[in-house]
Symmetry: C4
C-alpha cells in the first residue's frame, strides 16, 4: 500500500486535485463574506467545510503513507509539518473556541498552494536569496528614514505632534510621504513652522525617490539574474520525485 501511495503522490493529477480543493476552499471562504449567501445557505457551508477538512486529511494521510514503513522522513519536510498543524490545530482545546484563530487557520490553507506549484517556490527562494545582496541599500534606506525622523521630531515635534510627536510617528509620516499622497499639504504645514521645512522635504523626497528606485529596480534585476542562473543550471529534482526515489 505504501508503494501505491508513493505512485499516487508522484502523479500530476494528485497535485492538480489538491490545488483545486484549495481554490474551492478559498472561494467558499470568500462566499461566506456575503451576508445574503450565508443566511440562505448556512448549513451547506458547514457541510462543505467538513468536506474540505476531509480532503486535506486524506491528502495528508496519503503523503504520510508514502513514507512508510519508516515514517520519519515525513516529519523532516517543513511543508508536511505545516499541513499537519493546519489540520490538527482546530482540535486543540484553546483554539477550538476562538473564531478568529479558526478563520486564520482556514485562510492559511491558501498558503498550501505554494507547496503544489514549484514555480511559486522558486520565486520565494529567489526573493530570499536576493535580500542579502540588497542589505546595504536597505540599511542605508533605514538610516536615512531614521535620521530624517529624528530631525523631523526636533524641528516639527512641538508644532505638529500628530505628525512628528515621537520618532515612531515621524517614521510613519515619512514612510507615508513616500506615496506622495498629500505632499502639498504636508509641505505647506511644514513651511508654516519654519521656511527650512522646504529644504527638509525636498531633500527627503529626492533622497527617498533615489533610494527607492535603486531598491526596487535592484530587487527586480537580482531576481531576474537569479532566474537566468537557475535556468542554465541543471534542473533540481522535483519534490514528488525526491520522495519517490527515497522509497
Amino acid at each position: 500500500m505504501a508503494a501505491a501511495c508513493r505512485r499516487l503522490v508522484a502523479a500530476p493529477w494528485f497535485n492538480a486535485a489538491s490545488f483545486i480543493v484549495i481554490v474551492l476552499n478559498a472561494l467558499t471562504m470568500g462566499l461566506e463574506t456575503y451576508r445574503g449567501v450565508v443566511s440562505s445557505g448556512g448549513p451547506a457551508f458547514h457541510a462543505l467545510e467538513y468536506v474540505f477538512l476531509a480532503c486535506f486529511s486524506v491528502e495528508l494521510l496519503v503523503r504520510f503513507a508514502a513514507h512508510l514503513p519508516r515514517g520519519g522522513g515525513f516529519f523532516r519536510d517543513g511543508w508536511n509539518l505545516f499541513d499537519l498543524a493546519i489540520v490538527l490545530a482546530p482540535l486543540v482545546p484553546g483554539v477550538r473556541e476562538n473564531v478568529t484563530i479558526l478563520r486564520l487557520l482556514r485562510l492559511a490553507r491558501i498558503v498550501r498552494a505554494f507547496r503544489l506549484f514549484p514555480s511559486l517556490r522558486v520565486i520565494l527562494v529567489g526573493i530570499r536569496r536576493s535580500l542579502p545582496g540588497l542589505g546595504s541599500f536597505l540599511l542605508i534606506t533605514l538610516l536615512v528614514l531614521y535620521g530624517y525622523a529624528m530631525v523631523g521630531w526636533m524641528v516639527f515635534g512641538e508644532a505638529q505632534p500628530e505628525r512628528y510627536g515621537t520618532v515612531g510617528q515621524a517614521m510613519l509620516t515619512l514612510f507615508l510621504l513616500l506615496s506622495l499622497d498629500g505632499i502639498t499639504d504636508t509641505l505647506q504645514a511644514g513651511r508654516e513652522v519654519t521656511e527650512w521645512g522646504i529644504l527638509y522635504y525636498l531633500s527627503y523626497m529626492i533622497a527617498a525617490s533615489y533610494l527607492l528606485t535603486n531598491l526596487l529596480v535592484g530587487v527586480v534585476l537580482n531576481a531576474l539574474q537569479e532566474a537566468h542562473e537557475v535556468e542554465k543550471a541543471p534542473p533540481p529534482a522535483p519534490v514528488a520525485g525526491v520522495e519517490q526515489r527515497l522509497a
Copy 2:
C-alpha cells in the same frame, strides 16, 4: 478580375487608404460627441456614415474577390470574419434598433487598424506570449490580494463595511490602494479600529509594491526579449504577400 483584386490587396496604398478611412471614421465619431457640431451638421454626419459603410463594404468585397475562384480561404482568416461581422451586424433585426450596440459596432471599426499595421499585431502577439511566463507572478499577486482581502474582512469588516463589507469590496479597496490615492486617510481609519492596522497596511504596501514592480518590469523585459528574438529570426511573410502567393 480576381487577379486584379489580388494585386490591389497586395498594393501598399490599398492598406494605407483603408487606414485613412478608419481614422476619418474615428474622427467623425469623435466630432459627433460635440453637441454644437451635431446640431449644425446632422445630415452631413448621416451621409458620412453611409460613405464609410460603403468604403468598408467595398474593401471587404475586394478582399473576398482576391480569394476567388475558391472563396473558402477568405473565411479562414479571423480578421475577415471580424470585418464581415462589423459590416453585416447592423442589418440584423435585433441589433438594428439598439443605438448602443450600433455605436459599439462603429467603434469596433477602430480595432481594424490592428489588421492593417503588422507591427501592432506583433506587439499583441508579444503580450500574449509573455503572459504564461508571468503566470507565477500573477498567481502570487492574486493570492496575496485575496489573502489580504480575507484578513481585511475579518479585522475591518464590522467597522468599515463600505471598505471591507465583502471579500469583493475588500479586493477592490486593496486594488485601489495600489494607486496610493488617499492612503493616509485609509491608514488613519484603520488605526481607529485597531493599532494592528498599521502593520496590516504597511506590510501590504511593501508586498504589493514589490510584486507590482516585479510584474511590470518583468512584462516589459519579456516583451523586449521577445522582440529581439523576432528581429533575429527570418521575417514572417507579410499578410498581403501570403494571399498573393496562395493565388
Copy 3:
C-alpha cells in the same frame, strides 16, 4: 580678422563665456519675478538687459565673421538662424510693443544652452531617433485612449457631462486618471451610474499602466542603446572644429 574670429569661435573659453552669459541672463529674468527686487533695482535691470543684448549681438557677429569672406555658410546652420531671430525679432515693429512676446523671446535665449553643450544635443537627437521605433506603442496607446474615451462618452456622457461631455473632455479625464489622482472618487462616481463602471475603470487602469510602463521603459532602453552605439562609433567632429576646418 576672419581667421581671428575662427580661432575665437573654436576656443573653449568662448563657449564657456557664452554659456555664463545665458545663465546670468536667466537668473536676471528670474530675479525680475520678485516684486521687491524690481521696485528697488528697476533701472539696473534695464541696463543689464542691454548688456546681455550686446553680448549676444557680439557673439553673433563673431560667429558670422568666422564664416567670412563667404558668409553663406553661416545661414546654413539652423542654430545661427535661431540666434539671429532672437536678437533681431525685438526690433520688428509689431513685436516691439508686445510685452509677452518680448518676454518669451528673452526666455528663448535659454534654449541657446543646447547649442553650446554638444552632450545636450546628443540627448535631443537620441530622443528624436527613438521615437519612430516607439511609434507602434504610441499608436496603440492613442487607440486605447480614444476607444475608452468613446465608450466613456456613451456610458457616462449623460450623467457626468463635466467628465465625459465630449470625446475631448473624456480623453483629458482619462489622461489625468493616469496620474491615479482621485481615482477612488472617480470610480465611486462611475459606480453610481452603472455597476459596469468598475469593469470600465479597472480594465482601463490595467491596460494603461501596462502600456505606459512599456512606453517609458522602452524609450529609456532605446535611448541607452543609442547612446552605447554612439560611444562605440568614431566620435563626430565637434561643431566648432568643423567651422575651423572649413576655413
Copy 4:
C-alpha cells in the same frame, strides 16, 4: 601597546562592537522622543549618554594609539577627523549650551555607521561617480523646470500668486506637481485662467515624466554598471588592513 591597538582595530569584532554602540545610541535617542519614557527614566538616559560618549572616546583613542609612535597618519583620514569633531564639539563653549546643536551632533554619530560598513561606502562612491555621467540630463531637467516656471509666472503669475507669484514659487509648484498630487485641481484652476493652461500642463507632465524616468533609470543602470566593474576589478585593500600595513 601601539601594536596591540593595531591588532584591535583590525579585528572584526572591534568594528562590530562599534556598530552595536552606534545602533544602541540611535535607539536611545529614539526612545527619548517618547514623553512617557523620558519622565520615568530620565536619569538613566543621562547616564547612558555618558556611557556612549565614553565608548566613542575609547574607540577614538584606540584608533589614535594604532597610529603611534607617529600619530600624523591618524589625522589624514577624514573619518578620524569627523569622529574627533563629534566627540570634542560638545566641549566647545558656544556649542555646549545650544540644545539643538548638541542633539544634531549626537544624531551625526549615526553617520559613523558608513565608516564601519565598507559596502555602504562603496554605494556612496558609486552615487558620486555616476553623477557626472548624468550631468547632461540633470541640466536639461533644470532648464525645462526653469523654462516652465518662467512661462508659468508670465501666464498664471497675476491670477494665482500663491502658486506662480515668483519664479521660486513656480519652481516649487512645478516640482510638487511631479508627485501628481492634486493635478486635477491644479489643471482646473489653470483652465479658469486660460484654455492654454491644458497645453501647458499636459506638455509639462509628458516632458517631466519622460525626463524623470530617464534620470532615475539612468542613475540605477549607471550604478549597477559601476558595481559590476568594481566586482571584476581586484578588490581594494580593506581600510583596517591599510592601517595595519602602514605600521
